[in-house]
């Protein structure tokens, strides 16, 4: 009579489910929070750095690790934009594919503008916010207003973080030579649309 080899590892039809082969895993885990690169770009309630925001898009601060230049981001979706990188990279703030492939500094101050691509000369933060809102719309999510309409101003970031500036040598992003009003320049950048 033929015999059939019995593999004790297999779950035979019927009967009770065998125990797992590996040592027991925790019954539940704390889900990791999606990191984001700036004010107003958080995907959920409680995803702000303080965990106190009440809605998507209303957080005050980035949760991705702060860094001030291209290629210094830790992971996917944690790079800023606007300072270095080609057109494609600069059209994707907070949307990079991998570690060290981020285009620029995080957080993204309101005074930063893209230096290449379809958003050249326009606000980097506003582009990041547009991409974020698009993603939320596609996910049928409601989004609240950001604390600042055009992102965190440089001087506000310095107040909150102690010191902050993104890399680059082209001088202060927010200042006056005595012949301009920085507020007017900031407003113009905030309101500027693509031509």
């Amino acid at each position: 009579m033929a015999t059939i080899d019995h593999n004790k590892e297999l779950s035979m039809c019927g009967g009770t489910t065998p125990p797992p082969a590996t040592p027991g895993a925790p019954a539940s885990i704390k889900p990791p929070v999606e990191l984001h690169v700036c004010m107003g770009l958080n995907a959920c309630k409680g995803h702000d750095r303080t965990g106190s925001n009440n809605c998507a898009g209303t957080g005050f601060c980035a949760t991705a690790q702060q860094h001030n230049c291209q290629t210094l981001n830790n992971c996917r979706g944690q790079g800023g934009c606007g300072l270095y990188g080609d057109a494609l990279q600069q059209e994707n703030p907070g949307n990079n594919n991998c570690a060290w492939q981020g285009s620029c500094a995080v957080p993204i101050q309101a005074e930063r503008f893209s230096t290449l691509g379809s958003n050249k000369g326009l606000s980097t933060w506003k582009l990041a916010r547009q991409l974020f809102e698009k993603r939320m719309r596609e996910a049928n999510r409601n989004v609240g207003p950001a604390p600042f309409e055009c992102g965190p101003p440089q001087n506000w970031l310095v107040t909150v973080l102690g010191s902050y500036d993104s890399c680059g040598n082209s001088g202060d992003k927010r200042c006056s030579f005595g012949f301009n009003n920085p507020e007017d320049n900031a407003k113009a950048l905030c309101e500027r649309k693509s031509e």
Binding site: T115, N169, G171
Partner: protein, 466 residues
């Protein structure tokens, strides 16, 4: 020392026999311009303290003996106006020089692609000028190039490097083991002639090149912009000004060369009043010529340097008209660094930092060579994580950091230290990255403030010498 071999007694033209040496010479011409331009770039303080400048100038104006003397309001108004113009000029000069420097890096890559396609592996490690001052490889008459702070004299050198060609110079004498040429454009024309006259040249389409579409090159970045007097950003390169080209045939080879020449010299100006019959620049005429480009067109390197030259002259003339004593015009925005410094000039608290900078500078060329051996993700990682990170973050940071250190020469003259852009002689007995890490440790011991760069240096790709 440059490692070219002799290729003939009168190499007034490029032939199949010396094409490989000619293309290697092209690479070395492009390489030699980069430290020349970068040294001057780093001498510029692109964002000096305007308030400090206003205070300094106001005090100086109030002390001028003239009748009637300036009152306080007049002095501050003049100081504000001069300082604003100087702030804009310093930033603009920096942006324009950097816009040229990144295009020279593009030219270096294009000429490397050309050599890879036609003659074999480009050589970059150790091919930056060995000592400073140097000579632009093969230029006739010999063209001395310096690492020097921004000045009218240094701008004249830049203009001579990039000046456009006149009718061909004949019977150039051989002085060194290079193909002689009166302008860079003329040199590349000889290469073009060789490619045109030898249609059977086989182009290697299998070996790696630096190609477009991978994010390797960007025409503008935050360093190529400056703010005008209204603090509005101005971009110094046009988006369509050029990109990497994969050299796969004669057409693409000629495209690469045309891009180099056009970006460098621009369009030839018939009967240019600023060039004499011997192709020498007449600087007095150059000061008067209108180099404004057409709308949407990018200025050539020559035109950009001419613009800086004209602005520098105009501002200095205006400044001098006020008879401000004891404050040199350029001291307000140009750092006091020596001409052509070497690491051996530096004392013990600076030399290790200089060695590290030279190690990083040389390692960039080691990594670029690797990009011509490897393709796909390896090339991408080497370029983006290695070369981009090294240039934009590590080298740039170190060049700024070393300039905060001061030293005195044996004659007792005090200078700020500056990057020397010397080839670092990596030993073949150890991997260069480990040597770089040792250079970092020695530099941090001398200058602890640069310790923030440790992780960045450790993150670099580990590329061996070949």
């Amino acid at each position: 020392m440059i490692h070219q071999k002799f290729f003939g007694e009168k190499p007034e033209k490029v032939t199949l026999d010396n094409l490989e040496e000619a293309l290697q010479q092209a690479i070395e011409i492009e390489i030699s311009t980069i430290p020349t331009y970068l040294y001057t770039y780093y001498s510029i303080n692109r964002a000096p303290s305007q308030q400090l400048m206003i205070n300094t100038l106001t005090n100086a104006l109030l002390q001028i003996r003239k009748q009637p003397p300036y009152n306080f309001d007049e002095a501050t108004a003049i100081a504000l106006d001069i300082s604003a113009d100087l702030m804009v000029f310093a930033n603009k000069a920096g942006a324009l020089i950097m816009s040229v420097a990144i295009e020279e890096m593009l030219h270096m890559a294009l000429s490397s692609n050309l050599k890879q396609a036609v003659a074999g592996m480009p050589v970059l490690n150790g091919r930056s000028p060995a000592t400073w001052p140097a000579e632009l490889p093969g230029h006739q008459p010999p063209l001395k190039i310096n690492t020097a702070r921004l000045s009218m004299k240094q701008l004249e050198t830049f203009l001579n490097i990039e000046k456009p060609m006149k009718p061909k110079q004949k019977n150039l004498k051989l002085r060194r083991a290079y193909i002689p040429y009166p302008t860079i454009g003329e040199f590349y024309e000889m290469v073009v002639d060789c490619l045109e006259n030898n249609p059977d040249i086989r182009y290697n389409t299998h070996s790696p090149q630096l190609v477009p579409g991978k994010g390797y090159y960007a025409q503008n970045n935050i360093d190529t912009i400056y703010y005008d007097k209204q603090h509005k950003p101005v971009f110094t390169n046009e988006d369509n000004s050029g990109d990497l080209i994969c050299v796969a045939d004669k057409t693409s080879a000629l495209d690469a060369i045309n891009l180099i020449v056009e970006q460098g010299e621009g369009q030839l100006v018939k009967n240019a009043p600023y060039l004499d019959d011997e192709n020498n620049l007449i600087f007095s005429e150059l000061l008067r010529y209108d180099f404004t480009p057409k709308e949407g067109e990018e200025s050539s390197h020559f035109e950009k340097f001419a613009e800086i030259y004209q602005m520098y002259d105009a501002l200095e003339t205006r400044y001098d008209s006020y008879n401000i004593e004891n404050i040199n015009f350029s001291d307000l925005f140009v750092t006091n660094i020596a001409n052509n410094p070497a690491t051996t000039d530096y004392p013990a608290h600076i030399a290790p930092v200089s060695d590290l900078i030279n190690g990083v500078y040389t390692y960039i060329f080691v990594m670029i060579e690797e990009c011509y051996r490897k393709s796909g993700s390896t090339q991408y990682e080497t370029f983006m994580f290695g070369i981009h990170k090294s240039m934009i973050f590590i080298l740039n940071s170190l060049c700024g950091d070393i300039m905060k250190l001061k030293y005195k020469t044996t004659e007792g003259i005090e200078y700020n230290a500056a990057p020397t852009f010397e080839n670092y002689p990596f030993s073949p007995l150890a991997r260069p990255k480990s040597q770089l890490q040792n250079l970092y440790k020695a530099a941090v011991a001398a200058y602890p403030s640069i310790s923030y760069l440790g992780d960045r240096i450790n993150d670099l790709p580990d590329v061996d010498l070949k």
